[in-house]
Amino acid sequence: MSTDEQRRALSRLVFQWRTAHPDGPDDPGDDPEFLRQARILQGLDPETGARLTP
């Protein structure tokens, strides 16, 4: 996935989360499930945020 594709995928994830949680916190990362999904999307460990792929 190119950098631009990754950027668009993350922005779509945030947009979809905000649509589903109109009264949710300002920071979507306050939702542990969102944080996990966003990290997986970026190729990161969902718990620690460490990079998984070489």
């Binding site: 950098t3 631009d4 922005s11 945030v14 109109p22 916190p25 920071d27 944080l35 970026q42 945020g49």
Partner: protein, 209 residues
């Protein structure tokens, strides 16, 4: 909310050309008093690409953290997506902006922006290493382990940044902002490596739609 200024214009060739519409809205509190201001510029570039420029947003301190910023941003983003906009651009600043825009998926829009954040990350790494080396408590102290974990995270980010701005693997603003965060941590209540680095920072951001 009330629109109190709107105008249309043309960018000079030096500014990339294209036409734009700029509008400013006054944000009101539930009691009708002033709460803030927001200015947006909608640009059609010469090749037809649509870009939204979030030029200005200021909320009075007592009205921050109540959800207006995210609700207003989402409302506008819905319009942008429905209208075929390519991206949103802004300058992240103020107390919360440096962190919150990164957490919302905005990425660095210029090399100097990324460099400024990486410089702050390097400074934070120095502080962490000093804290580790002068730790007064026992070696199995959970707080010391957190510092050691943050040192590893900061080093990994700086190593990946060696790929060069714009190259695959270069850390995104989002990745930096969430570094060291444990699931369940909440912004404003807790702090972690990424929130310490990004809070109060200033950088040019872009959200690819």
């Amino acid at each position: 909310m009330r629109v109190y200024e709107a105008l249309a214009g043309t960018h000079t060739p030096h500014s990339g050309g294209g036409r734009y519409v700029r509008f400013t809205v006054a944000v009101k509190a539930p009691d009708g008093g002033p709460a803030g201001i927001s200015t947006r510029k909608l640009v059609r570039e010469p090749d037809g690409t649509l870009v939204a420029d979030h030029e200005l947003q200021r909320l009075l301190p007592e009205h921050r953290g109540n959800g207006f910023g995210s609700a207003w941003g989402h409302h506008m983003e819905t319009l942008y997506r429905d209208s075929g906009f390519d991206r949103v651009e802004l300058f992240a600043a103020d107390d919360d902006g440096g962190y919150m825009w990164a957490s919302a998926g905005y990425d660095f829009n210029s090399e100097w922006s990324a460099t400024a954040i990486l410089d702050e990350l390097a400074d934070e790494l120095t502080r962490l290493e000093h804290a580790r080396d002068t730790w007064p408590g026992p070696p199995d102290d959970p707080m010391l382990q957190q510092i050691i974990d943050d040192i590893a995270a900061a080093r990994a980010l700086l190593a990946d940044a060696a790929a060069g701005y714009g190259q695959p693997g270069f850390p995104s603003a989002y990745r930096i902002s969430q570094a060291g965060r444990r699931p369940g941590m909440k912004y404003r209540r807790d702090e972690w490596l990424g929130s310490r680095v990004m809070a109060g920072s200033e950088w040019e951001g872009v959200l690819k739609l």
